[in-house]
């Protein structure tokens, strides 16, 4: 057996030094996790069966160590203005206590990272970046804030980040926090305590489920993890690794930097043009290129595919229409929820139309759409994203 070495391109860096450990790495080792070098961090890939972890998050709850994510603090009287110039979003319009999904782009409109920005106070913003990009984003923010009264500090080492995700998360977390969870809205954050420790508690996530992310001091991480694990056990909570996190976000149609997003793509390619706020005051990096892109006919469209055989479309495989290449798979995996292979792919707009037209079903039934899975065309169907939406 030899592995076809499918790796996440954004996260595969040459290992020049030993990977960094999070405040919870020792806990993962004690739990018998399979650890992997992910973007320079030693992270749990899975604890047991990643499919069971995935299903636990869909039906009960999962506990994730996300301490590899980059925490960048931008503070000062002009912190908001600096972010408005550096990012595509309108951050001065964000109220303290709220969060936004946004992106940092190059002058040509290419995506350099996708981010969540939490406004902690009038003059203080927490920018959460992908681990692989954290240092680069910190440098870009520093450059772009030059001349403004705003300071950028990489605070990644000062935070442990623990996520609890799934329909039972509020039941588990509620008794362990001083926050009134009913008041913590989606994409909001509050200073709170969890297990007696001071944290920033946010209702955000990357799984398609209700969930909380807990930014804690590193020295409190083990205690918070243990307390949540113990309290959650009766609710079906399990620790969940990066493998489950990836299939969860894929089912939820959420883009991953390095797969659906990257320097060769604009937010519009990924169907996320709405994050670009042209109506904000002042210039921002990438404005001209993105404005042009917003007006132009799209060159490609991000779509969902459901494989009709059991062979799984993977990152980089060609999408075929009548046997000719019409796009490329960006992410693919067997979906535990659908029980079939699913994938996101960039395809030509003409092919993407097949997802929405009435006549499309018949044409799709004819097997004209397929994915080249290592030399064999495996039929696939186009479906609207996301693949999974949690019950209301």
């Amino acid at each position: 057996m030899t592995d076809h070495a499918i790796t996440d391109p954004a996260t595969t860096a040459p290992a020049t030094t030993a990977p960094r450990r999070t405040p919870l790495t020792q806990v993962h080792e004690q739990l018998g996790a399979t650890l992997t070098d992910f973007a320079g961090w030693l992270m749990p890939l899975r604890y047991g069966s990643e499919t069971a972890e995935h299903q636990a998050v869909r039906t009960a709850a999962g506990l994730f160590d996300l301490s590899h994510m980059g925490e960048l603090m931008v503070s000062g009287p002009q912190a908001g203005a600096a972010l408005d110039y550096a990012l595509v979003g309108n951050l001065t319009a964000l109220r303290p206590g709220r969060a936004r999904y946004t992106m940092i782009c190059a002058a040509d409109g290419g995506v350099l990272d996708d981010l969540i920005v939490y406004r902690l106070a009038d003059t203080e913003f927490l920018v959460v970046a992908n681990a692989a990009n954290a240092a680069a984003v910190a440098a870009l923010l520093t450059d772009r804030a030059a001349g403004m009264n705003a300071a950028v500090a990489d605070r990644t080492s000062d935070y442990a980040l623990i996520a609890i995700q799934g329909p039972r998360c509020a039941d588990i977390l509620g008794p362990l926090t001083d926050a009134s969870l009913g008041d913590v809205k989606y994409y909001a954050s509050y200073p709170a305590t969890v297990a007696g420790a001071p944290v920033l508690l946010a209702r955000t996530g990357y799984t398609g489920e209700d969930g909380f992310e807990i930014f804690a001091r590193p020295q409190d991480a083990e205690d918070i993890w243990a307390t949540l694990s113990k309290a959650g056990a009766d609710h079906g909570l399990v620790p969940a690794g990066l493998a489950a996190r990836d299939t969860l976000r894929l089912e939820a149609g959420m883009p991953l930097f390095g797969s659906e997003l990257g320097p060769g793509m604009t937010p519009f390619d990924a169907g996320l043009g709405r994050v670009v706020k042209f109506d904000k005051p002042g210039d921002f990096v990438g404005r001209a290129a993105l404005a042009e892109r917003a007006q132009a006919a799209p060159e490609r469209t991000l779509v969902g595919l459901v494989g009709q055989s059991r062979r799984v479309p993977r990152h980089g495989y060609s999408v075929l229409w009548d046997g000719a290449a019409c796009g490329t798979v960006t992410s693919g995996a067997p979906s535990p929820t659908l029980g079939a292979p699913i994938a996101m792919a960039y395809v030509t707009p003409a092919v993407a139309e097949e997802a929405v037209t009435e006549a499309a079903a018949a044409r799709q039934d004819a097997g004209r759409l397929a994915v080249d899975v290592r030399g064999r065309a495996e039929p696939a169907r186009l479906v609207p994203l996301p693949f999974y939406r949690r019950p209301a």
Binding site: M1, H4, S49, R311
Partner: protein, 133 residues
């Protein structure tokens, strides 16, 4: 990690059990751990001629797909039909219920001599220790 003494192994992480002129083939405990949850196995069909060291199928897991190699020369006589319904058997019982296919050994390989190139349990254990996992 389990490496039963009585089996033979390949550097590609298959195991083979030889009984008379029949070889049973599966993937090792080390392999299933590295792969994660197996979701689909494409094994060679009965009647297919297989050659030692040549790819003859594939194993799909959540994160990856791997080629399956035949450990020996011969003809496939039987495929484990249970795997199609429950690929998780490869994870839960890689040396037992998770066996993948059986081969009728080519002429000359069933004479008590081991087919060339196979590893003993000790050799395979050393191999996986070298790879650091």
């Amino acid at each position: 990690m389990s490496v039963p003494e009585e089996l033979h192994y390949t550097a590609e992480h298959e195991w083979v059990a030889i009984s008379g002129s029949t070889a049973s083939v599966g993937i090792t405990d080390h392999a299933q751990r590295a792969l994660g949850d197996v979701v689909f196995v494409s094994a060679p069909a009965p009647g297919a001629k297989v050659t030692a060291g040549e790819p003859c199928g594939e194993v799909e897991s959540t994160k990856s797909v791997s080629d399956l190699y035949s450990p020996v020369d011969g003809e496939v006589t039987e495929v484990n039909a249970e795997i199609d319904d429950d690929p998780g058997l490869v994870n839960s019982d890689p040396y037992g219920a998770g066996w993948l296919f059986k081969i009728s050994l080519a002429e000359g390989d069933g004479d008590g001599e081991l087919p060339p190139g196979l590893l003993s349990a000790d050799e395979y254990t050393a191999l996986t220790a070298e790879s650091g996992s």
